[in-house]
């Protein structure tokens, strides 16, 4: 069956273009999802750092 599949004619550009675009969109989607996750993590770290800074300031004011 697979040997016959290999002999199928090439798809015309307007059809093949959709598949190629789909494959490259997958690549960029993965990267963008990762960037979004990293952005969420970064904002959490920033918030926690702010809390710690506040805590440190308070500790300095109260001997």
């Amino acid at each position: 069956m697979t040997a016959n599949l290999a002999e199928l004619p090439a798809l015309p550009l307007h059809t093949a273009g959709r598949y190629v675009a789909g494959a490259y969109i997958v690549l960029f989607a993965l990267v963008l999802i990762y960037v979004a996750i990293m952005a969420i993590r970064l904002s959490r770290i920033e918030r926690q750092l702010g809390e710690l800074l506040e805590l440190a300031e308070r500790g300095r004011e109260e001997p």
Partner: protein, 294 residues
């Protein structure tokens, strides 16, 4: 008169700076991240430009063959990442340094994401080329799926073990075993297959020069992307650990029992200081130091 100079203290505002040697031993995963990121962006842009403006159309598959430049590098980097995870796990078991477990974990985690990319782009290519999203009689596809499913159990395995040290040890054993399975699987499939899946390593010499160059640049770009994402992940995890350690010291939770929330991710943050540790450090601080007598 006896003057007492504190040696160690829990207060962060007057805590002494660690000696230079200790500071150097701390991992700085963010070092070189900017250069690596820029190199990745440049390589990705170059690879895309070569794919769409330089590489010729393939005679049989036409424009559809452009998927080759994203699918195959995805697969190669994912499989090499799995093997690398096993190598890092060997180093972890030899040195017992939890940082190697962290690296092995991050590399396997990232390889799993790349494996998802391989499966999706492969399915799209199969649909365009063969008219089917998945062909169960194709050994390369099925063997890759088996490897993916094998590594999909890595995170649940880690999560199932609460003790961090045991978790790291068992995960390393898993990573080594599964990492050895990857090349064995590749060789077995290569020996057994008589089908039509494109062979990259055995047929690279058949590629025209322009296609081979485009493929190699794409592979380099994908490798750089993998390395950059791993470095980002390591840096983020390390920053979170340091933040947690700092919070512990600031809030002075020393009396609470050491308890780490259950997680699949490894942790190599410094051990929590207990009340006994503080008593010891206080006693040390109260000890007179030579030459301080008035």
């Amino acid at each position: 008169m006896l003057r007492i100079r504190p040696i160690a203290t829990a207060s962060p505002s007057i805590a002494p700076r660690p000696p230079a040697a200790a500071r150097d031993r701390r991992p700085l995963y963010g070092r070189g991240l900017r250069t690596l990121s820029l190199a990745t962006v440049a390589a990705m842009v170059l690879a895309l430009a070569l794919v769409f403006f330089y590489a010729p159309l393939e005679a049989e598959q036409g424009f559809l063959q452009k998927i080759f430049y994203v699918h195959v590098p995805f697969a190669i980097v994912a499989l090499c990442g799995f093997v690398l995870g096993g190598v890092l796990a060997i180093v972890h078991l030899r040195t017992r340094d939890p940082r190697w477990d962290m690296r092995s974990y991050v590399v396997i985690h990232m390889s799993l994401i790349f494996a998802v990319g391989t499966l999706i782009t492969g399915s799209i290519w199969a649909k365009g080329s063969w008219g089917h999203w998945w062909v169960w009689s194709e050994p390369t596809l099925v063997s890759f799926l088996i490897i993916f499913l094998l590594y999909a159990t890595y995170q649940p395995l880690r999560f199932a073990i609460e003790d961090p040290e045991r978790q790291a040890r068992y995960a390393s054993v898993f990573a080594i075993t599964a990492g050895a399975f990857v090349p064995l699987n590749y060789v077995a499939v290569n020996m057994a297959t008589a089908y039509v899946h494109p062979r990259v390593f055995s047929n690279t010499s058949n590629l025209p020069g322009s296609m081979a160059l485009t493929f190699l640049v794409s592979l380099l770009a994908m490798t750089l992307l993998f390395a950059t994402l791993c470095k980002y992940e390591l840096t983020a995890k390390h920053a979170r650990m340091q933040l947690r350690a700092l919070r512990r010291r600031l809030t002075e939770e020393a009396d609470t029992p050491a308890r780490r929330p259950r997680s699949a991710a490894p942790s190599h943050e410094p051990p929590r200081r207990t009340a006994a540790d503080f008593q010891t450090s206080t006693a040390t601080a109260a000890r007179p130091i030579e030459g301080t007598r008035a």
